[in-house]
Amino acid sequence: MIDNYLEGSRMKSKTYKRIDSSKGRKKLKLSGEYMIEKLLMICAGISILAIVLIALFILVRGLPLISKIGLHDFLFNLKWDPTRGSFGIGTMFIGSLAVTLASMLWSVPLGLLTAVFMAEIAPAPVGNLMARMVELLAGIPSVVYGFFGLVVIVPLIRQYLGGNGMSVLAGAIILGIMILPTLINISRDAIIAVPREYKEGSLALGATHYQTIRRVIVPAARSGIITAIVLGMGRAIGETMAVVMVTGNSTIIPDGPLSAVRTMTSNIVLEMGYAAGDHQAALFATGTVLFVFIVALNLIVNISAKAGSQNVAN
């Protein structure tokens, strides 16, 4: 019976049916069990339905416009003038990349150092305290970070570096803070998952703790660290509220860190309220580009992670 339970219930319900077919009451109960299983399966299927609907409704609204003006023109045309029929998101495409890469420039090294610190160097109480802090950092909503950027980072940049403060730099600072928890948590888990024997072997061979971290532990955790960076990047590209509050949102190509910039996500949230017709379709097309890019990023990471864990299991 327990074996049946573990081997999946389809077999079990068949067995039951045969045994109980003489007793009507039990058969009824049995089919109740069968109904419950199917009902649960339908519930599990709803998340699949959700993602299919999301893809369908965004693509249906966005793709016609992209195919009308051509993907190349849509992505690289620098003129965004939706009320006059010019739908190029080139400046925002570059804007999203610029802010994302600039944010990763400082948050990836800081995040990785902190992850190694928490997993390898910190005494247990300090490591636990850090974990709580990182969780709190992850829990603060993006609009609060955006607000903090608006009232602290932007004025600081305006005062000490010039310009009006709303800039790529402000966006990069705020976005970097926001992806730190993703970077730290995933890479810390990867470092913790490195088998103890690796470390012990290295130390037994006379390597110092630091040499062990650099030559043994970090290389062994490499795939997890890459996952952390890729997912952090996905998070940065998709972030909206914090970026829209601090980057100034002009549709120009940024000519430096102090230049104002608009990202693809900001474009959607800024104009969705009043857009209609082709203008609205252009915003859905912007969403289509984002959606395809981020889902592709996530699928690659998740499938390779699952394949990796299966290899380990085998």
Binding site: L40, F57, I140, G146, G238, T240, V244, I268, L290
Partner: protein, 279 residues
Amino acid sequence: MLQTNFKEKMITVLFWLSALVIVGILIAVIGYIFVKGLAHVNLDFILQAPKRAGKEGGISTTIIGTLYLTAVSLLIAVPLGVATAIYLEEYDRQKSRFAFIVNLTAETLAGIPSIIYGLFGFVFFVIFMNMGWSIISGGLTLAIMILPTITRTAQEAFLSVPGEYRENSLALGASKWQTISRIILPAAVPGILTGVILSIGRAIGETAAIILTAGSSLGMPLSLADPARTMSVHLYILAMEGLSMERAFATAVLIVVLVIIINYLANLSLRRLGVTRGR
């Protein structure tokens, strides 16, 4: 030898410094908002309705809006997420292709940015289903967003229920569903609760998806068909339109306080479970 020692020491210092920077960032963000905003938080601010587009008065209607939206999304997502987890962990133990796809979908849903959910909610619930900017449109959108969190934590909760529970219950003659509903589900409640708490945190902070699906009306939402503004949306509009910085700071304080409370509760329920949270 001396040089190596020195180098190692410097590197250790570097590690401690980066951890300090993280702590510093957290303290700077929370500290600044508290110092600037705490003076403007009082009972009137919480209990009074906003006046003149939020320039005056309190934020009572946005607090109600936040609670309403959160409750609706939980009512939809918790049963669905728990049912999904039951199916994946209790019925489909051999990890069929279906289970693989469901798991992959949950991971992918978790990675989709909120602005995309907003676009979807707008075109599907608001326009296609003709629900308009309303609590129900926002709640349904939010429910899809928190579904992966609920499902994943519930899955972990079911996994952590010892196998003997199942064996003993089955040995006593209970059916599979009796075993699940009377034995396993109650044992998994603390873990499910953790997912619920984390989801409340996400619901409170969500902004982009809510603006596009629930609107930003300042009125008191009464029915499911009414539009609503949440505290996060209110903070965004106050700050971006420069309506009232004092009230923006005070709203931010309340949001941060809620986040800290939720974080504390999540940790409490996790510690009782004796597991650590993933990402």
